[in-house]
């Protein structure tokens, strides 16, 4: 067991994957001597060389497009997109090429590319550094979309993503990079939670909170606060946005009868909508109240000084729980 922050855990996971498989290579802006703007690739170029840790020209379409080509040639590129708002120049490559090549080639072509994207807000930054673009990827068939919330998951999920034969969008909760946690680095095969399995992080009986990435800590905090008032909340970390582990959520909701989905992504047409729709299908007769969603507003991400009012807060989560309990 080792203790490390989430950013370091991703670094360690990348290192482990690169040690294991010489075909794994990293591509991105400033990931070499600088170690990335969040230092997630710190030291990797020094140890693996410029051919495996590639500082690319400043061009996201170039990063993703050439990664696709390298993957077609048998490599396993892991691309770093510097910030969430800067992935859009690559969108064409991601949606029309990366996501579609396997289907179009009847499975003959494989593009096991991983896109690492720091995501979400809460770091007091200027615009285009705080967006939550997951639903745009989740809505694109052919991509897998995951987001760890702890150092342990970050360490293992990045390795599982690299090992996946499919392209994986690996979102990193940027405001949690510095959050420390225990990482069990010695797990054997079969002991690591599968990449797309949701996990119950806290058991409860009155309502279920579903969350992922940066809102997991928030949901756990809300559950702690609710417990003081005698309300017992179950917290489920989705871990994967596409595919969704509906079964784990449904089991929880059958026990608690109530569901609140907490995301940073805007609620309107957001990931919570998919969870809510699936759960009302699967658990219609177990639900004691309509599914509630708490998340971002349908607005451009606001200026840093007021972002706390945009981001879901413990208060907003508890309000939603209260409304659910009152229904």
């Amino acid at each position: 067991m080792e203790t490390m922050p989430i950013g370091k855990a991703i670094n360690a996971g990348l290192r482990a994957a690169m040690d294991r498989d010489p075909r794994v290579l990293l591509m991105g802006e400033d990931i070499g001597p600088l170690g990335g703007v969040f230092r997630v690739t710190d030291g990797l170029q020094k140890d693996f060389g410029e051919h495996r840790v590639i500082d690319t020209p400043l061009a996201e379409a170039g990063i993703v497009g050439s990664a696709i080509g390298m993957a077609l040639r048998g490599y396993r590129p892991v691309c770093e997109i510097q910030f969430n708002g800067f992935v859009f120049p690559a969108f064409n490559q991601i949606t029309t090429q990366l996501a579609k090549l396997r289907a179009r080639s009847h499975g003959k072509l494989s593009v096991p590319v991983v896109l690492r994207i720091p995501s979400g807000g809460g770091i007091g930054s200027v615009e285009h550094h705080s967006e939550s673009p997951e639903v745009l990827f989740a809505h694109t068939a052919g991509l897998r979309v995951v987001m760890p919330s702890s150092a342990h998951d970050a360490y293992w999920m990045i390795q599982q993503s690299i090992a996946s034969a499919d392209p994986v969008v690996f979102l990193e909760p940027e405001r949690r990079y510095w959050e420390k946690g225990d990482v069990d680095v010695d797990l054997g095969p079969g002991e690591v939670t599968p990449l797309h399995r949701a996990r119950v992080l806290r058991a409860g009986t009155d309502a279920t909170l579903v969350c992922y990435g940066p809102t997991v800590k928030l949901a756990l905090d809300a559950a702690t606060a609710a417990a003081e008032d005698g309300t017992s909340l179950e917290v489920v970390d989705l871990r994967s946005i596409s595919p969704l582990d509906v079964d784990t959520v449904a089991e929880s909701v059958r026990r608690t009868g109530r569901l609140v989905v907490v995301t940073e992504a805007p609620v309107f047409h957001g990931p919570g909508a998919e969870v809510a729709a699936r759960i009302q299908e699967a658990c219609f007769y177990s639900l004691e109240a309509p599914v509630k969603r708490v998340g971002g507003y349908h607005l451009p991400y606001p200026a840093a000084r007021i972002e706390e009012h945009y981001l879901p807060s413990v208060d907003r989560v508890l309000d939603a729980v209260e409304q659910s309990l009152a229904a």
Partner: protein, 389 residues
């Protein structure tokens, strides 16, 4: 022997290629040079005005950095070393021209009459813009690399359709300046913009500040040919100018703007300069570049060189310098007070301008927000709950 003929000292990361075509009117020691194509003929007051703008811009940079260190700004994007490029290019614009800056072009913003406090509001985190883009003819800063370039071309195409090029009327003929960095030239959209501008002969001047670095990546990681030579492939003239020579920058940009305004089409200018400080206050340049390199560029400082020249011409004296220092101090004090006085926006204001016409979901979210605000935030912020209002 002229510096221009030698070209700038080249560190290993610089793009190999010929730099002997670099336009220079002042060498790095402040000695005036002739150039067969480019000349400026300025009155002493105009020359002093350029110095003043550069000194004030440098003070803006110093103050911005200090304010960030003191927690008054979330981030600062420095301009030190790029004063010649920014002031020279922006001073070449006319009132009716339109400027599409990046996030670093504070010199252009100041030259276009924007209150520096409004420039800093973005970096304080109270605003995404800060100034009235229509009033000043300056587009909001663009943080996504190269994303401003195609809109700049489109704006130029609009100018053409309005018949505001080639009329011969100096108050009417209009051009567009699109700023970009060396890193930005790598974006696909930069290539598209150059091509569009050439195909449609749009009145656009692409002003590329090659400050040698895109965060940690040297310009050699962006291009294997000197950046201005890209222009030829797109079908427009490409000019290399010493970006630390405010006179040469002014002359070259003026000529390019005149060409655009008169219907002659686009030009690409590469201003060869250097970012003396960090990429932003969040950056650590010691991780990727040697201090010897930065020191070598210090010798080419755009302000020192111009000051030397003005002194040698007897245009600048101690009295003016003292007055200028006092003006810069006063500017800094005003800026500091203005920034500290910037109040955070009302949280509910985030709902104000996303749409021009009512959007029912946004209105519903606004109601929800206000209800929750009544319940919690007011308490948290020590205001009355359910106040008498």
């Amino acid at each position: 022997m002229s510096d221009a003929a030698e070209g700038p000292d080249r560190a290993e990361h610089e793009v190999p290629g010929r730099h002997d075509d670099m336009v220079q009117l002042l060498d790095q020691h402040g000695v005036r040079r002739e150039h067969p194509e480019h000349e400026v003929d300025l009155e002493p007051e105009e020359l002093l005005g350029l110095l003043r703008d550069m000194v004030v811009l440098r003070r803006l940079d110093t103050e911005g950095e200090a304010l960030q260190r003191q927690g008054q700004l979330g981030l600062w994007v420095g301009t030190r070393g790029q004063e010649g490029a920014q002031v020279g290019s922006a001073q070449a614009t006319r009132r009716q021209d339109h400027v599409f800056p990046t996030y670093r072009d504070h010199g252009a913003a100041l030259a276009r009459g924007i209150d520096p406090v409004h420039v800093l509001s973005l970096f304080r985190g109270v605003d995404h813009g800060g100034w009235d883009p229509v009033e000043h003819g300056v587009h909001p800063y663009t943080l996504v690399i190269a994303a401003q370039l195609l809109p700049a071309v489109g704006y130029g195409m609009g100018v053409q359709r309005d018949g505001a090029v080639g009329t011969g009327d100096p108050a009417r003929d209009t051009a567009v300046v699109a700023y970009l960095g060396d890193g930005a030239t790598s974006q696909g959209e930069a290539s598209e913009a150059l091509n569009w501008a050439a195909v449609f002969q749009a009145p656009v001047v692409f002003f590329c500040q090659n400050n040698q670095w895109a965060i940690s990546e040297p310009v050699a990681r962006q291009s294997t040919v000197p950046l201005h030579r890209r222009a030829e492939g797109a079908g427009m003239p490409g000019v290399l100018v010493d970006g630390n020579d405010v006179l040469a920058v002014l002359a070259v940009t003026r000529a390019a703007l005149e060409r655009a305004r008169s219907g002659g089409g686009p030009t690409f200018i590469e201003a060869y300069t250097y970012r003396m400080g960090a990429h932003t206050t969040a950056d650590d340049p010691t991780r990727y570049r040697l201090s010897a390199e930065t020191e070598a560029w210090r010798e080419k400082d755009p302000i020192d060189r111009f000051r030397t020249y003005l002194r040698s011409e007897g245009i600048l004296d101690d009295d003016y310098e003292a007055a200028l220092d006092a003006e810069a101090d006063e500017f800094a004090a005003r800026l500091r007070a203005g920034v500290i006085a910037l109040v955070d926006p009302e949280p509910v204001s985030m709902f104000d301008h996303a749409y021009a016409e009512p959007h029912p979901q946004v209105l519903a979210e606004r109601d929800e927000f206000l209800a929750a605000w009544e319940q919690h935030d007011r308490e948290a912020h020590g205001e009355l709950v359910g106040g008498a209002s």
